[in-house]
Symmetry: C2
Subunit: 221 residues, 2 copies
DNA sequence: AAAATGCTGTTGTTTTTACAACGTAAAGGA
DNA sequence: TCCTTTACGTTGTAAAAACAACAGCATTTT
């Protein structure tokens, strides 16, 4: 096994595992490493999978082909991050997406049942591993839920206010800085950038918000 | 403890647990039951929680108040279903939503750490419990992801086609029945019903789809 | 059977959004 | 310094969506 211990050690899945234990755990978990060439399928839509993948090197794309063959890239997975955990957890759910190496990549697979069923040795770290997996899923869940809350709003204005309100509450202040530039924010809210900029200006004119660059201020009237 | 064993036994969280074991497990998990009167807060936004709630009787609403005080009901939780698992799994994440009993309700709480840390007795069922929790979260994840895929599309037409394509692939057939009526579908895709109906008619005129009531047929041209 | 209700499609109008194009200012590199 | 690139706001136009209102049909209730 090549030396990807840094990647593994720093991954969220193996957080709080000591370096000495990691190697033993990987053995116990029966982790397998596979190399994929550019454009090679790692998982294909329709497949039933039982393993979680962790990118060790390269980059992996999650994508979806629709009924008419149109392909959409849903996300990119970088070293240390995992993929497939949702489908691996659902034994009867065929993959709704495909996973492809976008360049030559090294991927480590761990069977979900090996994660779930506690082994005899290093049990404490095993519990930790399960907890990390749960945290990863909870975090993803939260991210998705928040996005849905904003996007389900009908107008650009409402989407903006929903997002800004969340940021304000999160920062516990009516003034705060957002982590997106305009284009990124527009993509996140899935609206047109210029239309969004326009709407931001209107909100400013109507004295509902103030902003300069990425600093926003919400007003109560 | 009143007799809610049927509810618990039939819940997803306790699936595959034998009736004899459930009682012992609840003891081991230090499950607590609390009664809430109508409109009473169960969790409040901003709070840090460490317990998962299971509704045993009544109904519970997940809701959100924005910066300006506008309240939105996000979802309803019925007997046997759990809530708070996302925030309970994330030790540092303050609740972004509030949970309120919409009528007089009985709620059972289980501390997430009791679920995560394997006890000495009935270990097999404990593993099962963790697995069920993971399944619940994976399922929710999948549901959210699919919805986002559709909603992020810009036009009503694209949203419709994205949804219909998914249904088609799921049913492994170009003809299938959808589980929503028009209003429900419009709500799900967060578009206007009449505009959606209109778009459906156009798609039919353009010979891209056929439909009658809830039966759809997709065409490749 | 009659009445009421719910679901769906249709249409016209108004509002909102997307799109394209452009000007300006700031940032970064040669 | 000059040039290039990037980010952001602005505007006009065309397209799309929301909205409101209604008609036809089916289902349910009385």
């Amino acid at each position: 096994m090549k030396n990807y211990s840094d990647i593994i050690q720093n991954s969220v899945l193996f957080r709080n595992t000591t370096q000495e234990n990691t190697a033993a755990m990987l053995e116990c978990l029966d982790a397998r490493i596979k190399t994929y060439s550019k454009e090679e399928y790692i998982f294909e839509a329709g497949e039933i999978i039982s393993s979680v993948g962790m990118v060790l090197d390269g980059t992996v794309h999650i994508l979806k082909d629709d009924f008419w063959g149109n392909r959409t890239i849903i996300s990119e997975v970088c070293p240390g991050q995992i993929f497939g955990e949702t489908y691996a957890s659902l034994a009867n759910e065929p993959m709704g997406v495909s996973v492809i190496a976008s360049k030559k990549s090294q991927v480590m697979f761990i069977n979900i049942s090996k994660i779930m069923n506690i082994c005899s040795s290093a049990c404490q770290f095993h519990t930790n591993l399960i907890q990390n997996l749960l945290i990863i899923m909870a975090q993803k869940n939260l991210t998705l839920t928040k996005k849905i809350e904003h996007i389900t709003k009908r107008t650009t204005r409402e989407k903006l206010l929903s997002y800004l309100s969340e940021q304000s509450i999160k920062n516990e202040s009516s003034s705060f800085e957002i982590p997106f530039n305009r284009q990124q924010l527009a993509d996140y809210l899935s609206v047109d950038r210029s239309a969004m900029s326009n709407e931001l200006s209107k909100l400013k004119d109507e004295n509902i918000i103030e902003f300069e660059k990425n600093n926003f201020f919400l007003k109560r009237n």
